[in-house]
C-alpha cells in the first residue's frame, strides 16, 4: 500500500518536472540548438522579412557577414505575416520577458524612440558611429530620426519613400493628362479622368494605413516639411486651420477612389492601376517592385511615378533600422553584424534585392535600377520627413488611434469629428 502511494507521488513529481523541463528547454532551444559551447558566438536577427525580394536581401546580407566572420553563427529569426504586426507582437513579448533578440528590425523614428528607447531597452551607439566614421555617411536628418536626446540608437539599412504616386502612363496619355504638381492640378486631372470613366485614384484600405498614408502626404503638402515635423512634435496643434484644410483636401481626394476600396489591400489596388481601371496610386515605393517584378510592367513605359502634389523637395521617409538591445550576452558580436549592416558593401548587397535604396549617401549607384538611382539623387537633396503611417512620426499608440479615425473619416467625411479624434489622441504622440 505504502509502496503504491510512493509510486504515485513519484509519478506526479515526474509529470510536473517534465512539464517544467520541457518549458525551459523550449526557452534555451533558441540559443543552443546543438552545441551549447558556442553560446555567446551567435547572433539572432529578428525581422519580418519573409517576402520575395526582402528575404533575398536579408540572406545576401547574412552570406556577406558569414564570409567575413565565419566564427560567428547567424540565426535568421524572421516572423512572417501582417506587414510586421505579427513580428512586433512576438518582439514585444520577448522584450518584456527580458529575452531580447540580438538585434531586431524597427522603423526609424518614434517606433524606435518612443517605443524601445523610451522603455529603456536600447544601448546608445554614439561611440560605435564615431568608431566607424559614420557621422557624415548618413544624412543628418536620418541620424536625427534614430536618435533621442542626443544619443543614437540604431543603424538604418534601407530607405523607402512614401510620397510617391504611381500612375498608368497609357491612361494619362489617352486622356491627355500632364503630371500634376499642385493640388489644383491634381483635382483637375482627377475630374478629367472621372469623366472619361477611369477611377482617378486607386485605394485599398482593407488595412487603414493606406488611407492614413494619403492623409499624411496631404498634410505634408499643405504644411510643408518644417511645420509637418512641428505638428508631430506637438508644437502645432491639430486644431490648426491648415490641418483642417488638409482634412478637407483629403476628403476631396476620397471622392475619386474606387468604390470597392474596403475589400482591397494595397496590392489589389495596384492591380487596378496596372490594368488601367484606375489611373493613380499613392503608395510607398515598395510598390515599384510589385509593378516591375510581380506584374512585370516596364518602368517609365507602362507605369510612371511622380511626387505627391505639393510635396516636391520633401522625402517622406520609411527606414528599417537595427539596434542593440540591452541585456544581450554578446554585444560585441552583434556590433560586428551592425558594422556589416551599415557598410557600403552590406547596404549594396541588401537594397538592390529588396528594391529599396541605401541609407548611406556614398553607396554604389551603378547597382541600382533607374528608379533607384533617381530616388538616391532625391534622397541626398530633399528634406527628410518621418512617415506617420509607418510609425516614424508618432508612437504606435497614436498611429493606432489615427488609423481608426481615418477609417471612420473615409466613410463619414466628417472633418470636425476627425480633427477632434486626432486632437484627443495627440497626448499619446
Amino acid at each position: 500500500m505504502k509502496k503504491l502511494y510512493g509510486f504515485i507521488l513519484l509519478l506526479v513529481l515526474a509529470l510536473v518536472l517534465a512539464a517544467c523541463s520541457s518549458d525551459s528547454s523550449g526557452d534555451s532551444g533558441d540559443s543552443d540548438s546543438g552545441e551549447s559551447e558556442s553560446a555567446g558566438k551567435k547572433v539572432e536577427i529578428f525581422s519580418w522579412w519573409t517576402g520575395a525580394g526582402e528575404e533575398d536581401g536579408l540572406l545576401a546580407l547574412i552570406d556577406l557577414f558569414e564570409e567575413k566572420h565565419p566564427d560567428i553563427e547567424i540565426e535568421n529569426a524572421a516572423v512572417a505575416g501582417g506587414a510586421g504586426t505579427n513580428a512586433k507582437a512576438v518582439l514585444a513579448t520577448r522584450m518584456q520577458g527580458d529575452d531580447p533578440p540580438s538585434t531586431f528590425q524597427v522603423h526609424g523614428g518614434d517606433e524606435l524612440n518612443e517605443g524601445w528607447v523610451a522603455a529603456d531597452k536600447m544601448e546608445p551607439l554614439n561611440d560605435f558611429y564615431e568608431e566607424n566614421g559614420w557621422m557624415d555617411k548618413f544624412p543628418e536628418e536620418l541620424i536625427d530620426l534614430v536618435s533621442k536626446d542626443g544619443n543614437i540608437y540604431s543603424v538604418p539599412v534601407d530607405i523607402h519613400r512614401g510620397n510617391v504616386i504611381f500612375y498608368n502612363m497609357k491612361v494619362f496619355e489617352e486622356n491627355g493628362i500632364e503630371v500634376p504638381t499642385t493640388f489644383d492640378e491634381f483635382f483637375a486631372a482627377a475630374d478629367k479622368l472621372k469623366e472619361a470613366g477611369v477611377t482617378p485614384l486607386a485605394l485599398g484600405d482593407k488595412e487603414a494605413w493606406t488611407a492614413t498614408q494619403i492623409f499624411e502626404n496631404v498634410l505634408l503638402g499643405v504644411l510643408g516639411p518644417d511645420d509637418y515635423k512641428k505638428l508631430f512634435e506637438g508644437e502645432i496643434g491639430f486644431d490648426d486651420e491648415r490641418v483642417k484644410e488638409a482634412a478637407e483636401k483629403f476628403g476631396k481626394m476620397l471622392d475619386y477612389i474606387n468604390e470597392d476600396h474596403a475589400s482591397r489591400n494595397w496590392q489589389d489596388s495596384a492591380q487596378l492601376v496596372a490594368n488601367g481601371e484606375a489611373a493613380m496610386l499613392n503608395m510607398g515605393d515598395w510598390a515599384k517592385g510589385y509593378f516591375s517584378n510581380d506584374l512585370e510592367l516596364e518602368t517609365n513605359k507602362d507605369f510612371g511615378y511622380f511626387e505627391f502634389p505639393a510635396t516636391d523637395g520633401s522625402f517622406a521617409i520609411i527606414t528599417d533600422t537595427f539596434g542593440l538591445p540591452k541585456g544581450i550576452e554578446n554585444p560585441d558580436d552583434v556590433k560586428e553584424f551592425l558594422k556589416v549592416l551599415g557598410s557600403v558593401e552590406g547596404q549594396d548587397a541588401f537594397n538592390p534585392l529588396k528594391g529599396s535604396i541605401p541609407a548611406r549617401v556614398d553607396a554604389d549607384k551603378s547597382k541600382y535600377d533607374e528608379y533607384g538611382q533617381e530616388t538616391m539623387e532625391d534622397f541626398k537633396g530633399a528634406r527628410l520627413v518621418p512617415s506617420l503611417a509607418h510609425g516614424s512620426a508618432a508612437s504606435e499608440g497614436f498611429l493606432t488611434k489615427a488609423n481608426q479615425a481615418v477609417n471612420i473619416f473615409v466613410t463619414q467625411r466628417d472633418v470636425d469629428t476627425f480633427i477632434k479624434a486626432l486632437q484627443n489622441a495627440a497626448p499619446e504622440m
Partner: protein
C-alpha cells in the same frame, strides 16, 4: 468494498479514486495557473495604467472600461457582435434542424448528404474567411453572376446600417456588411448543428411518433408537438456552443473582412488584438478581454448552473 459501504458517512477515497485524483492534480495545477491565474492577471492589468510599452501597474480604476464604452469603435463592436450573434445562432439552428429533418426521412445515400454538410466544419475559419472574401467580393465572386440580373450587392463593403438610429456615438441598427460574414459563418457551422440535431432525432423513439400518428396527428403536428419539444435540450447545447463561438469570433473576421470601412464588421476580438499588439494599449486590451469573458459568461453560467442541478 463492503468496508467502504459501512463507513459511508466518513467518505474515504478508495485506492482507485486516489489514483485518479493523483493523475488529475498536475492538470488541475496547470489549469489553475495558466487559465484562472491569467484570467485574474488580465483582470488586474485591465485596472492598471499600462497603456504603453513600459509596464505601469498603478491603479487606474475603471478608466479603461469607461474609455471603451465611450469609444466609437468599441460601441460599433458591441453592435456588430449583437447582430452577428442573433443572426448566426438563429440561422444555424433553423438550417441545421431543417436539414436534419430532411436527411432523417430515411433517404437513400443519407451518409453522402450528411458528409457533404459536415465537411465545411473540417476547415479552419481562416480558410473559410479567405474563400468567402473572394466569393462575396463586390468586384469578383458572386457579383460576376448576379450582375447579369442587374443586382450588385456590395456585401461586406456596404457601410449602410439598416433601421439605424443615433445611439451613443454610433448609428445603431443592423450593419448590412455583417450579413456577408454571417453567411460565411453559417456555411461553416451548419453542419455541426445538423449533426447534433440528427443525433437528437435518432434518439426519439419511433413509437412516440407512431403513437401520435395513431391518435390522428398530421405529420406537421407530429413535428410541432412531439419532435420539436424533445429536441429542446439539443437546441440549448447548440445555442451555448454557437454563442461562445460568435462572441469570441476573431479568425473569420480577420481573414475575411478586417475591421471594415467605418468598423461595420469589426468585433471585440479584432479590436483587442490591434489595440494591444499594434497600439501597445495593454490595459485597454485586457479590459476588452474581460468584457468578452463576461459576455460569454452570460450564456455559459446559466447553462453550467442548470447542468449542475441536473447532476444532483
Amino acid at each position: 468494498m463492503a468496508e467502504n459501504i459501512q463507513t459511508k458517512h466518513k467518505k474515504r477515497f478508495t485506492k482507485d479514486q486516489w489514483t485518479a485524483v493523483a493523475f488529475l492534480i498536475p492538470s488541475i495545477i496547470l489549469i489553475l495557473v495558466f487559465v484562472y491565474g491569467f484570467i485574474g492577471w488580465t483582470g488586474y492589468v485591465s485596472l492598471s495604467n499600462w497603456n504603453t510599452l513600459v509596464p505601469d501597474f498603478s491603479f487606474a480604476g475603471l478608466k479603461n472600461y469607461i474609455y471603451l464604452f465611450n469609444d466609437f469603435r468599441f460601441q460599433a463592436d458591441l453592435r456588430n457582435t449583437l447582430f452577428f450573434t442573433i443572426l448566426f445562432i438563429g440561422l444555424v439552428i433553423v438550417m441545421g434542424m431543417g436539414l436534419a429533418i430532411l436527411i432523417d426521412q430515411k433517404l437513400k445515400g443519407e451518409s453522402i448528404f450528411r458528409n457533404i454538410f459536415l465537411f465545411p466544419m473540417a476547415l479552419s475559419f481562416i480558410v473559410t474567411g479567405v474563400v468567402w472574401q473572394w466569393l462575396l467580393n463586390p468586384s469578383t465572386g458572386f457579383n460576376q453572376f448576379l450582375s447579369v440580373f442587374g443586382i450588385e450587392p456590395k456585401w461586406y463593403t456596404d457601410t449602410n446600417i439598416l433601421a439605424g438610429f443615433e445611439w451613443g456615438s454610433i448609428e445603431f441598427g443592423l450593419p448590412v456588411a455583417i450579413i456577408a460574414v454571417v453567411i460565411a459563418a453559417v456555411w461553416q457551422m451548419t453542419g455541426f448543428s445538423l449533426a447534433m440535431y440528427l443525433a437528437g432525432l435518432r434518439g426519439i423513439p419511433d413509437e412516440l411518433r407512431e403513437a401520435a400518428r395513431m391518435d390522428g396527428a398530421s405529420e406537421f403536428q407530429v413535428y410541432r408537438k412531439v419532435v420539436l419539444p424533445m429536441l429542446l435540450p439539443i437546441t440549448m447545447s447548440v445555442v451555448i456552443i454557437m454563442a461562445h463561438i460568435s462572441l469570441k469570433i476573431f479568425d473569420l473576421i480577420y481573414a475575411m473582412t478586417g475591421s471594415g470601412a467605418n468598423f461595420v464588421t469589426d468585433v471585440p476580438g479584432v479590436y483587442m488584438f490591434e489595440t494591444t499588439f499594434r497600439g501597445n494599449y495593454y490595459a485597454n486590451g485586457a479590459a476588452i478581454a474581460i468584457i468578452m469573458l463576461l459576455l460569454v459568461a452570460v450564456f455559459i453560467v446559466p447553462y453550467l448552473w442548470n447542468s449542475r442541478k441536473g447532476d444532483n
